[in-house]
């Protein structure tokens, strides 16, 4: 099981039947593959619908995900305009959003939309999602390709939203954030706390109920 699958599988355990969920592009879109048996969630797509599903058969006109790719619909899907789509997002009608991250800091602030001088794609719907979803889960590999930590004391990259992340899941560990502190909740079986501290620039507390991260 690679890092991404490990992360996606762990995040799947956060969902309950009836949850309305918005998944960012990239790693988060893997999550539905690993939902536990019997869990029935509704995926929201910010381009204007509830009930996103996998593509089955031929693409149909206008049935595309927020990446512009053909997708499918579940029974009971509903379409609406962009104002309604973001009213749902900002208004707390999305229970969980799962997004990729570049940096998350001790305050729960997330940077994931631009790297000055390098990548300026625009924030799209990310700022609204992080600001408005009831629970914000960041799904990311623990370090960058160059080995730089992504859990940091204070984000150096431009923020997507301040103090809104409640959980970070990496291939090494699961953290919650509350009151300005990372709390280590789960550790992968193949990782020691000392190793995790070396790979984590942010300070973190270890939960008294520290558990093994299920793989």
């Amino acid at each position: 099981m690679n890092a991404k699958e490990r992360i996606a599988r762990r995040i799947g355990r956060e969902f309950r039947s009836g949850h309305v969920v918005n998944l960012g592009i990239g790693l988060p879109t893997l999550v539905p593959r690993y939902l536990p048996e019997g869990i029935d969630i509704t995926l929201q797509s910010e381009n204007g619908f509830l009930g996103l599903g996998p593509l089955v058969g031929e693409p149909r006109p206008g049935v595309v995900n927020a990446g512009g790719q053909p997708c499918g619909l579940i029974s009971g899907a509903a379409f609406f305009d962009s104002a309604m789509s973001f009213a749902l997002i900002r208004g707390g009608h999305v229970d969980i959003t799962v997004l990729g991250g570049l940096q998350v800091d001790e305050e729960g602030s997330l940077a994931n939309w631009m790297v000055p001088g390098k990548m300026v794609p625009g924030m799209g719907g990310a700022m609204d999602l992080v600001t408005g979803a009831r629970k914000v889960i960041v799904a990311m590999e623990h370090c960058t390709r160059d080995g730089e930590p992504r859990l940091v004391e204070r984000c150096s990259l431009p923020l997507t939203a301040r103090a809104r992340v409640s959980m970070v899941v990496t291939e090494l560990a699961v953290f919650t954030i509350s009151h300005g502190e990372f709390v280590l909740q789960e550790l992968a079986p193949d990782v020691a706390v000392d190793e995790l501290r070396r790979k984590t620039q942010a300070r973190f507390l270890v939960s008294p109920d520290l558990r093994a991260m299920p793989l």
Binding site: S17, G18, H19, D40, L50, G51, G76, L88, G91, G132
Partner: protein, 223 residues
């Protein structure tokens, strides 16, 4: 989060357990058209009092939310119009009912803000009138606006023409009015539907309120 789909369709008697004294209740409808008569009846049977009713108008003494006012279950109404219900006016003058009047378009925007996570909206409506009282005024591009704040409720009671079992709703003609806005703005959303259909029977383009917003569905009694 809504309860699992299978559990949304309930008997009218089952919704009574969700009502409490002092609740803020949003109701769809305009002069009673689009107000769920069966859910108003359930509120009456529940016997809860001191309600704050939020909606367009107090209809007539025997229609819409009128009966709730007639029997004295409401302590306060937040509406745009009470002129068609003389009981509302009498109770207001007698000091038995607190009436807050809001311009209709402002009421719609305030409910929308409450459901859409917005902190408020600037409207030109009411500038230079009694509606200004107690409100912030901003000048933008030389024009004055009032800052109007979000409205939310504990429960919304809505009327739909059709619901599927998941909770997707279709309203009929002018009975739509405030219903879709209130579906966004209450902690608990209860719908009375004239017709219940299987999930998937409503074209996704024709859904007016998506299922995720609806908590409980009651099928209206046949007339």
């Amino acid at each position: 989060m809504s309860p699992p789909r299978a559990g949304k369709v309930v008997e009218r008697a089952d919704v009574v357990a969700h009502f409490r004294d002092g609740m803020r209740v949003m109701f769809g409808g305009f002069m009673g058209v689009g107000t769920p008569a069966g859910l108003v009846d359930a509120l009456m049977r529940s016997g809860v009092g001191q309600l704050t009713l939020i909606g367009n108008d107090t209809a007539f003494p025997e229609t819409g939310v009128g009966p709730l006012i007639s029997v004295g279950q409401a302590a306060r109404v937040i509406v745009s119009h009470i002129g068609t219900n003389p009981v509302t006016g009498r109770k207001m003058i007698a000091g038995e009912l607190d009436v807050e009047l809001i311009p209709q378009g402002t009421l719609a925007e305030r409910v929308r803000c409450g459901g859409a996570g917005l902190g408020g909206v600037l409207t030109p409506t009411g500038v230079g009138t009694v509606v200004e009282a107690g409100k912030s005024k901003l000048v933008l591009d030389g024009r004055e606006y009032l800052l109007e704040l979000p409205l939310r409720a504990d429960v919304a009671i809505l009327k739909a023409r059709k619901a599927d079992r998941a909770g997707n709703l279709v309203y009929e003609r002018a009975a739509r009015n405030f219903n879709p806005l209130m579906a966004m703005a209450a902690d608990l959303v209860i719908v009375e539907a004239d017709e219940l259909v299987d999930t998937g029977d409503i074209d996704p383009d024709q859904v007016m309120t998506p299922a995720a917003l609806v908590d409980l569905i009651v099928v209206a009694a046949k007339e």
